[in-house]
């Protein structure tokens, strides 16, 4: 683990009680074992293009540091360290999110301005703090991709009125958004890319959320309505990339829409998202090479007092290459800070079993 990260972490824990009311530290550490081998069809060889991808043993530490001097403004830092960095540059330790929030109350409504690097609040799975999946160990192909290749770095405005929320984002970076599903293939993993990290998508090219190579801003807009039990949401993302190659980074121009529905009643939750849109890059001779992306999932989950069981079906396509996956997970949540869990996934004729033990600190 990076020394400066550990020093910062220890220093935060040592803060006096009064300071801890303004500074809050929370997060988790996990150990995970997978049935899939390190190399081979489920390995991390970008050319394999397999949806199940994990090391046999891996560890992660994620820490959220919140500075909350007032409900009206505050800041959030999300640090991430992991052993799984086989095909990345600068992927062992980094910053997943870093942003500042300011709230305003126009006409009794709420306007939140957020500046920095952040996850778009679109996922119906990654609903715990630190953008963690609440139902399974690894999110759907759709949200695995968004975690690995999209991290707006810019300004987001969200307006809340009653049960409705609308939001818009202007962002830089994310010029290569689209490379992962096309060049490497969809995967089911929880590799949240960090700022400055480069993730390999094929034998020569990488993807990065923080590299700004074409000087063009991307944008996103979303709207959601929350009923008593039902949520519906629509999001549009356009990275406005120039589609050209810059060294080891190949930009993809990607416009993507996501429709989401979530229904919760009692101990049951049913949720689904469908994302679709075109992407293209520009070849040396000026011709465009394009693909149609599509990914969706449908999930049913039931919660008990000390556990949660979830079943999820995934579909993900690039043009005529259709894949699907089935995932079953059980998260055991006894009182205390330890959470054992198991997840079984089958995709493309391959099976993977993940066993995880997670220790959460502070914040539950």
């Amino acid at each position: 683990m990076h020394r400066s990260f550990m020093a910062l972490f220890v220093a935060m824990l040592a803060l006096p009680a009064t300071a801890q009311e303004v500074w809050q530290v929370s997060g988790f550490a996990l150990m995970r074992a997978a049935s899939a081998p390190v190399s081979g069809p489920l390995g991390r060889d970008p050319s394999e293009n397999e949806p199940l991808d994990s090391e046999t043993l891996e560890a992660q530490v994620q820490v959220g540091i919140d500075w909350l001097p007032s409900p009206m403004y505050g800041a959030h830092l999300h640090l991430l360290g992991r052993s799984d960095n086989a095909d990345t540059r600068r992927g062992t330790f980094g910053i997943a999110e870093a942003y500042f929030d300011a709230n305003f109350v126009p006409n009794g409504d709420r306007l939140r301005l957020r500046g920095g690097a952040f996850f778009l609040p679109t996922s119906r799975e990654n609903v715990d703090a630190l953008w963690e999946p609440a139902y399974t160990l690894t999110p759907s192909a759709l949200n695995s991709w968004l975690g690995e290749e999209l991290r707006p770095i810019g300004v987001d405005a969200a307006y809340f009125r009653g049960r409705a929320v609308v939001g818009a984002t202007l962002f830089r970076g994310n010029d290569t958004f689209g490379a992962v599903p096309v060049a490497r293939g969809w995967q089911l993993s929880d590799h949240w890319i960090t700022l400055g990290e480069w993730v390999a998508v094929d034998a020569t090219d990488f993807t990065s959320v923080s590299a700004e190579t074409d000087g063009r801003l991307g944008w996103s807009a979303r709207g959601a309505w929350n009923g008593e039990d039902l949520l519906v949401q629509l999001t549009h993302i356009d990275n406005r990339s120039d589609g050209r190659k810059y060294g080891d980074l190949f930009n993809w121009n990607t416009r993507f829409d996501i429709a989401a529905v979530e229904y919760s009643r009692g101990d049951w939750t049913v949720a689904g998202e469908y994302g679709w849109g075109p992407t293209f890059l520009v070849l040396d001779d000026g011709r465009k090479f394009g693909n149609e992306l599509a990914a969706s999932y449908l999930m049913v989950s039931r919660w008990w007092r000390h556990g949660r069981a979830t079943f999820r079906a995934d579909w993900f396509d690039v043009d005529d290459d259709h894949r699907r996956a089935l995932t079953a997970a059980f998260l055991w949540t006894p009182p205390g800070k330890i959470r054992p869990a198991i997840e079984v996934t089958t995709a493309g004729g391959e099976q993977r079993v993940l066993l995880e033990v997670r220790y959460s600190f502070s914040g539950g």
Binding site: A129, R265, G364
Partner: protein, 192 residues
Amino acid sequence: MLRPLALVLLALALPAGAATIDAVVRDARGRGVAEAVVYAVPEGRELPPARKTAVMDQRNREFIPHVLVVQSGTAVNFPNSDDVRHQVYSFSPAKTFQLPLYKGTPANAIVFDKAGVATLGCNIHDRMTAYIVVVDTPHFGTSGRDGKVTLPNLAGGKYAVRVWYPEMKTEPSPIAVTVTGNERTEVSFVAR
């Protein structure tokens, strides 16, 4: 022999004036407004703050109830019944507070000691919103889908009957009501 005696004792135990106000809140088209808070504030009488407790639960990343009405002075607990963490806040003038990221039940309740409306949210879940309506009276109720609220057990005297509902732009004028004995009084509001 015992039954008549019990009835006499029961009658004696009832408040001298047990009037009732039947209120209805309708929109401009005449449909009932759900989750409207109707409350009767006694005129010329200061009421001591409540020493009560109430609960604003969090389940399926929703606040339950969506509208909670309490008398000023009430301590409200915010248990998190979800298996994900919440970070509850309000920046309303009626009560500005923030709970740190948590699961389970926080050790301390929040005392709502000033009349007004506190709009709640969660920093982790944009979809979560709810209202705590703090009133200076123990006589209040929340409407169902039919827009109706019953305020029972009112002592005789003058009251200002007021209303609040989510997304209210302008509060309808309070209605002055004088009640005596065990009579029932009907009032209606139009939500705009």
